[in-house]
């Protein structure tokens, strides 16, 4: 017998938190796919450590989101029992892990974004969110630095590392737009003080990106107008496959624990 899916409500504050929680959760799952496949043993551990940090951040926010939703769902139910369209992460987070250059570029972009977000969320009107952010901001700072070092090594490295990192940049660039969308959910969070409007993070993120690309002797691709719609629950073809693997145990063995 398999486990029924759950649905969350549509309160803006809930959706705002789920966009961030799901970003951490889904990116964690993708990074965790490197476990046993890292380019070297030490980096394999570094990526696993990063995935664990992210899942920890997701747990805190999902718990808070469950409380706000008021349907009695805990972090595990929210993580494992929603259907694809009930996840609100930007599509960037769910893209398959790709090669190490792809993972490095995505990790740098995501960590820079999350770091800015957590910095601002430390002053959230929601005390629990502020507390989660206080811990997470240090983790994101490290993730950003670690990815930055690799980005410079790969960009300013061998012919092949450069070719791969350039390909990764070109492929990922259009997906970054979704990290700075504005809509009613976003505006409500900014108005209530729950968290920043994502568009307000763009200038600082862009500066961090340009700084590291220049150090890595890489050029930013041309801007794209494409804006993915993961934040609205409309995902890429990859999301369902990823969730099938991620949710399998809880669906097949409801409530199973370690």
């Amino acid at each position: 017998m398999s486990q029924q899916s759950i649905k969350v409500g549509d309160k803006p504050e809930l959706r705002y938190l789920l966009r961030i929680a799901d970003s951490c959760l889904v990116l964690s799952q993708r990074i965790a796919e490197w476990c046993g496949h890292g380019p070297i043993l030490e980096e394999d551990l570094a990526l696993s450590n990063m995935a664990l940090d992210l899942v920890g951040q997701a747990r805190g926010l999902l718990t808070r989101a469950g409380e706000l939703d008021g349907q009695g769902h805990d972090e595990d139910q929210l993580a494992f029992l929603r259907d694809e369209r009930q996840y609100f992460n930007p599509v960037l987070m769910e893209l398959p892990r790709g090669d190490f250059a792809f993972t490095t570029v995505r990790n740098f972009a995501a960590a820079s974004w999350l770091r800015l977000l957590w910095q601002r969320l430390q002053h959230s009107s929601d005390a629990e969110v502020a507390a989660i952010a206080g811990k997470a901001v240090k983790e994101a700072a490290y993730h950003q630095q670690h990815a930055a070092d690799w980005l410079v090594r790969l960009g300013d490295g061998t012919e092949e590392s450069r070719r791969r990192v350039e390909a990764a940049l070109a492929e990922l660039w259009p997906y970054f737009n979704e990290l700075f969308i504005s809509d009613a959910v976003d505006a409500a969070a900014a108005a209530s003080g729950l968290g920043p409007a994502w568009s307000s993070l763009h200038a600082d993120w862009q500066a961090a990106m340009e700084e590291i690309l220049s150090e890595a002797t890489l050029a930013a691709p041309k801007p794209s107008r494409y804006v993915p719609s993961g934040h609205l629950g409309i995902h890429s073809e990859h999301m369902g496959h990823m969730l099938a693997e991620m949710q399998y145990l809880q669906r097949a063995y409801p409530g199973g624990v370690w």
Binding site: I40, E42, E43, L45, A46, N49, Q145, H146, D149, R153
Partner: protein
């Protein structure tokens, strides 16, 4: 940094020292491969401090460590065997002195 003894394409080896808390000394806890000092420090953090083992890290290129020759062990260390008087164990300690 390059290590002429390392096989082609293999990153140099680094020794890792971890200080478990302020005031204690850094203790050798293992080694790892890394391309340079910056990477060695980050990877040492990933590999050796993930269970809160440390508050400070040192990494040292293994090639920079000068080690005594195991073949000279007897010449180096055996002469100390019969010199127990070098241990400060022949003093009466007052009861109020702790941690000796």
């Amino acid at each position: 940094m390059s290590n002429p003894q390392a096989p082609h394409n293999e990153w140099p080896l680094w020794e890792v020292f971890v200080r478990s808390k302020a005031g204690l000394d850094h203790k050798h806890c293992g080694s790892l491969h890394a391309a340079d000092a910056k990477m060695a420090l980050q990877l040492a953090r990933e590999v050796y401090t993930r269970r809160q083992e440390g508050v400070s890290l040192w990494v040292v290129p293994s090639s920079q460590i000068v080690a005594s020759d195991p073949g000279e062990k007897s010449m180096y260390f055996d002469p100390m065997e019969d010199k127990v008087y070098r241990h400060p164990t022949f003093y009466e300690l007052p009861d109020s002195v702790n941690h000796m």
